[in-house]
């Protein structure tokens, strides 16, 4: 059994099987898990916002956004020997934790995060094999590059694997 590496909010990490990756308590954020099935290299990014180009700030922290986070994760995995054309993706998170989040500037940031991830992955030609997004509860995820299993835990719900 390998080690399970923890990924924080607005952070990303890579690993090689038998190690795994986890991120705890995803709310409106999204956990994007990428895997190269041949080299068994995996990566997990915990993104918070959909789009870095909408930001005014000059300094951008890559893992915070769906677009730059996916770019950076793919780059790091390629540097380890993974190939983009073999990569597959699974995504989870993007909940709406409070119902009035639907208002004003917070227009369903969870939903927009999920859409932005799918769009960016499509641009990279990385197929999304499975997703568990939306609804109104938090998720803890564990990803194993060995099998590609993406385990999702939520409060008061049975564990599931996508």
């Amino acid at each position: 059994m390998g080690e399970i590496i923890k990924v924080g909010m607005a952070d990303l990490k890579t690993c090689v099987s038998p190690d795994g990756l986890t991120t705890l308590g995803l709310g409106s954020c999204i956990g994007i898990a990428l895997r190269d099935p041949v080299t068994k290299i995996g990566g997990l990014a915990h993104i918070m916002l959909p789009d870095s180009t909408a930001m005014r700030s000059a300094k951008i922290s890559a893992p915070k956004f769906a677009d730059t986070g996916i770019e950076e994760l793919v780059r790091q995995m390629e540097a380890m020997g993974a190939r983009r054309n073999r990569m597959t993706a699974k995504i989870a998170g993007g909940a709406t934790m409070f119902s009035f989040q639907g208002k004003a500037d917070m227009v369903q940031v969870g939903l927009r995060n999920a859409e932005a991830c799918i769009k960016k992955l499509k641009e990279f030609g990385i197929p999304v094999l499975a997703q568990d997004t939306g609804a109104n509860y938090g998720r803890t995820v564990v990803f194993f590059p060995e099998t590609g299993d993406y385990i999702i835990r939520a409060v008061g719900k049975p564990e599931k694997t996508i």
């Binding site: 909010m9 954020c29 922290s61 934790m97 938090g138």
Partner: protein, 207 residues
């Protein structure tokens, strides 16, 4: 509000924001004490500017189950505010409020959730009211929303709001206790231009 961001905010401004948090939390505790009809003590609030990855550790782990009350702030300043308390502490508060008639076990009934929402409403109202008095600005809360979930998931909501303009989150932690210790957290999230308004109203304009 051109170049303003939380990272380059000066020590003096930070002290002012801390003091505001202190006063706000103090008033919130007084309101809580009146509501529960018992003495509630509070430690000196801690104010932290944290990176997103540190958030979970502060509240005892991302998977710690907490009750979060979230409301919008409207009026002369805009933004949002959150009050967070650990699940068993929330149960304790509700039990006090319902004169010991809370349901056994750790789940919450509809009625208890509604009571908790009201607790959140009253104490955040007291918090905002004191800010309104000090700054002489109109500050009103919107009706509260409540969630019982993992701390990380609940905190992702204010974190995302901070994430829009920076890489840090400003959090005011106030630990309070009656006969048992309860950790409570207030997170005031003014929109970026509201920071300048708050500081300006106190005679500290940002250039």
């Amino acid at each position: 509000m051109g170049g303003m961001n939380l990272e380059n905010i000066s020590e003096t401004y930070m002290d002012v924001l801390k003091e505001l948090g202190n006063i706000g939390a103090g008033n919130a505790m007084t309101a809580l004490s009146q509501m529960l009809n018992c003495k509630v003590d509070m430690r000196v609030p801690q104010i932290k500017l944290m990176e997103f990855s540190e958030i979970g550790e502060v509240v005892g782990g991302e998977e710690q189950i907490m009750v979060g009350v979230f409301l919008g702030v409207e009026g002369d300043i805009t933004g949002s505010m959150m009050f967070l308390v650990e699940k068993s502490s929330a149960k304790h508060l509700i039990n006090k409020l319902m004169m010991g008639m809370a349901s056994p076990g750790d789940e919450f009934t509809e009625m208890e959730l509604s009571a908790m929402r009201e607790v959140g409403n009253i104490i955040t109202g007291a918090y905002l009211n004191s800010l309104s008095v000090i700054t002489n600005m109109k500050i009103q809360p919107t009706p509260p929303e409540l969630a019982v979930d993992m701390a990380g998931a609940i905190l992702s909501v204010p974190a995302i709001k901070f994430g829009i303009f920076g890489d840090n989150i400003l959090m005011i932690q106030s630990q309070f206790f009656d006969e048992i210790e309860i950790d409570g957290y207030f997170i005031l999230i003014p929109d970026l231009d509201s920071y300048a308004k708050i500081l300006g109203s106190l005679g500290m304009p940002i250039d």
